[in-house]
Structure formats: structure tokens, C-alpha cells
């Protein structure tokens, strides 16, 4: 029964996105536009045998994917809560986890869309030099690795209104992404940024993505993201319980 219900929930979410795509438009267009700007300026530089454009696919890709999954489920759940729609789901026969999972999963095609748009942009500017398997690994790592951000997004959505949620999530997204080197390489940033970045999941997701293209250790990044997933899940559960009563 839950599979059928999940299908209905997912269809409702996707209809919501397709019929009123303004929110996702900005979370897709902005990262892709930034990427297009930076990759056309610096994409052809090379370091360690990998073009800057390809490396940027990992860093800007991490930003784009985080942007989609951090912003949309949280703002969606906050709006649903404000209009009483979440309550109507809570009192239905559907376990609330199914409803929330549909919200997260519905954002994933858009996250993949951001990555595909960036890949095409990098290719068009002639700065993409990664084989297809590496690109597919990058896509999987970024999309799966971004899921804990969706949990954090839900945790915030259970507590604040849609307007405040959008502001708060943006206030989380932009600074942590800049400090994590998702817009500009950490090598050209103050040393302080590097010290802070180590504690941010954005940085570890981006490094994990870079490792798919250029190789390198992954265990630390995986462990940090797993830890972040657990913390975000606990936060989301506590936040839901609080919102519920």
C-alpha cells in the first residue's frame, strides 16, 4: 500500500514543481549561471591533469545540488504547515515519513538537472575532460550525498514559516558554500576559511565529488557526511515532534 501512496505523494510533489516552478527556477538558474560565468573565465586552466572546468563541476555541482535539496523540501513543508495541509497529511492513514520522503525525492530530478546543465555548459566551453563513468559517479555521489541537507531543510521547515524559512535556508546555504570553497577554490581564500571548511558538510561533499574526477581519499568525507546525516535526521525528527504538538 505504501508504494502506491508514495507514488501519489510523489506525483503531487512533482505536479507542484512543474505547475509552479518559480522556486526551483531560481535554485537551478542561479547555480548554473554562476557556473557558466566562472567556467567561461577560468574553465580551461588546468591543475593536476584536470581542467578547472571539470573541477568546478564538482564544486559548483555540490553547490547546485545542495541548493535544490536544501531549499525546496523545507520551504515546501513550511508552506504546507502554514496552510494546514501538513496536518491533513498527519491525520491521514499515511505514515508521515512517506509524505516527507516524497518531498525529498521530488527534488532529486531537479538536482540531477542542475548537474546535467552544468556538464553541458562545461562541454560547450571546451573545458570538460572527464570520462563518462567518472561523470556518472559524480552525479550519484552528489545526489545521494546531498540527502542529509534535505533532512536539515525539513528540520527548519517544521519550525518556521515559508518566508522565514527561505531567508534562513539561504543564510545557511550561501555562507557555508562560500567558506567551503564551492564558489572559489580554497587555495586562493584566507587560511581561516580552510580551517572552518573542515567542519562543514558542504566542503566534504564537494571533496568527495572531486575525488570521483581526480582521485584521492574519500573515507573521511564519507564518515563526516554519514555523521551529518545522523545529526540532521535526529534534528528533523525532534523538530517534527515539536511542530506536531
Amino acid at each position: 500500500m505504501n508504494t502506491k501512496v508514495f507514488g501519489v505523494e510523489l506525483a503531487d510533489e512533482l505536479r507542484g514543481i512543474v505547475r509552479e516552478p518559480a522556486a526551483l527556477f531560481f535554485s537551478i538558474v542561479m547555480p548554473v549561471a554562476f557556473f557558466a560565468l566562472f567556467v567561461s573565465l577560468f574553465g580551461k586552466f588546468s591543475a593536476g591533469g584536470v581542467s578547472a572546468g571539470t573541477t568546478m563541476l564538482a564544486t559548483f555541482g555540490a553547490f547546485g545540488v545542495i541548493s535544490v535539496v536544501l531549499m525546496n523540501p523545507g520551504i515546501g513543508v513550511a508552506a504546507d504547515r502554514e496552510r494546514g495541509w501538513l496536518k491533513s497529511k498527519q491525520v491521514s492513514a499515511v505514515p508521515i515519513g512517506v509524505t516527507l520522503a516524497a518531498k525529498v525525492v521530488a527534488a532529486l530530478p531537479y538536482a540531477a538537472g542542475v548537474l546535467i546543465a552544468m556538464t553541458v555548459t562545461a562541454a560547450l566551453t571546451g573545458s570538460l575532460n572527464a570520462p563518462l563513468p567518472a561523470l556518472l559517479r559524480l552525479l550519484v555521489v552528489l545526489v545521494v550525498g546531498a540527502l542529509p541537507f534535505a533532512l536539515l531543510s525539513l528540520a527548519i521547515g517544521f519550525q518556521v514559516g515559508a518566508g522565514a524559512g527561505a531567508a534562513l535556508l539561504n543564510a545557511l546555504l550561501i555562507p557555508t558554500s562560500v567558506v567551503s570553497g564551492l564558489w572559489m577554490p580554497l587555495d586562493i581564500m584566507p587560511a581561516f576559511f580552510r580551517d572552518v571548511a573542515r567542519f562543514l558538510p558542504n566542503y566534504h561533499l564537494s571533496e568527495l565529488a572531486r575525488a570521483q574526477l581526480a582521485g584521492g581519499p574519500v573515507l573521511t568525507h564519507v564518515l563526516v557526511l554519514l555523521g551529518f546525516a545522523i545529526v540532521a535526521a535526529v534534528l528533523a525528527a525532534v523538530s517534527y515532534r515539536h511542530a506536531r504538538s
Binding site: G84, S88, V91, S245
Partner: protein, 296 residues
Amino acid sequence: METVLEVRGARYNYGATQALDGVDLAVGAGECVALLGPNGAGKTTLVNQVIGLLPAKAGSVRVRGGDPRVASTRRQLGVVQQSLGFPNTLKVSELVTGAAVRAGKPRAAAGPVMAELDLTELAGRRASKLSGGQKQRLQLAMALVGDPALLVLDEPTAGLDVPARKRFWQILAERRERGTGVLLTTHLIEESSAVADRVVVLAHGRVLAEGTPDELVARLPDRTVIARTGLGLERLQSLPGVVSLRNEGEHVHLGTRAPEALLRVLLAEDPGLTGLRVEGAGLEEAVAGLIERGAA
């Protein structure tokens, strides 16, 4: 008659505030029970326990024998909220079909319910574009499509015009004949008098009185003084023996257990008083009187 809702000794507190203090309540199949009481009486807390949003901290709440906190039990429930904002992006047919699937019914169950509630012609319209009455009918369709044993209605006709209200209760009456129990909370007490089989008056988290509307009215020797007067509402409220006050058109309705004393003061203070008559108390006055006596 099968019991579809059974609440026994339900308690709930928010910190030091005791919202529910040992409430017992039952709704039988096909029965409509109205839950009345002033703001803060515990109605919302009790309803939230019935629909599974809150646990009973003591006592028990059972819907057809099951705990409404468990998702599968909630298949027995249909809920109509006072004001539900539908997502801007979903159409009427999608919402009713979705509600059917969520309730474990086939998609095809949506069609007959939409027809029953005159929603077929609106099937392709976005729910957010519907009028208030249409939205309430849509909510009712979503609540009924799962063929629930118990309907929980929270101020279901607030904001509806008279024909829309009549239609709403007509549909409900048909469902009740088929065995659906109804728990209703409303501030439209006279309306509940017309549709409810039993009334439960809640105050300070306790059941203050319970019975048919006629039984509750008969418990009080109260009268209603009706008149057109130039006196302000504040002054009217402070007149001796006034236990309730409401406006109806140009008339005020003053519930009192001392009509003679009230009439003397009214006539003395407002020489221009017209349209004066004294009637037996209605349910609204009876409930107000019961609450006042319960609080005393």
C-alpha cells in the same frame, strides 16, 4: 449501536495547565455528537487526541478499538478542518483521488464521491481557486472517500452561506444513515442543536454536561429576553442575571434566569425599547448557563 469512538478518562496537560482532566466520550455508528464549550475548554486538545495528533497522557482514545496514533487506525477517520488551504497546484480530481489512495481505496472510488458532493464539474479546477463552500465540499469529499467510520468536523460550516450549510448537513445526514459517526465541534450552537443527536459540554478540561439538546435545555429554568434596544453590548452584558448575549439582526437575545428583574432594569434604562418578548432558553443560552454554573 456499534461504538466508533470511545474516550475514557483522557487527560492531557501543557506544562502546569491541565487541558483535559479525565474526559469520557463515546460516539456510536450513525450518531452525531456535538462537542461544545468556551475557548480553552479543551475541545481542540480532545479532537487532536481523537485524530491522532496528540497522545492521551492518561486514559485511552479508541477509534473502532484502535489507537488513532497508529496510521492504519486513521483509515477509519475522516477529518474536516475549519480552514484548510489546499496546495495551489493541485486540481480537485487529483486531491480526491489522492485521498482515496491514501485511505487504501481504489482510484475509482473518487468519482462517485465527487458526484455525491457536486464536484464532478469542478474536477479539473485547481482547489485553491474554489469558493469557500466548494472548498468545504472538497474537504468533505476527501474525508468521505475512504468511507470512514468516524468523521471529525471542526467548525465545518464556518463562512458558508445558508444554502451551502443546508447542503452540507444533507450530505452528512445521508452518510450517517449508512453508519458514519460524527464528532462535531462548532461555535454555531443553534446549528449543532439542529443536527446533533447528543451534545457534550466541555469546560476546564472536564465534561460538564451531556445529553440531547432538548435534555440540556430542560435542565435550566432560563429564559431568553429578546428586544431591540439602544443600550450598548457592554451595558447589556453587565445587567443583572444576564448569562449570555447574542445579536440576531436588530434584536439582542439575553439569556437570564431572572427575567423579571432583567425586564425591570431594561425598561427603566431604555424607554425606547421595542420588539420585546420572552422565550424559553435555546441551546446556546442553556450551554452558557451550564458553563456559568459549572464554573461557579
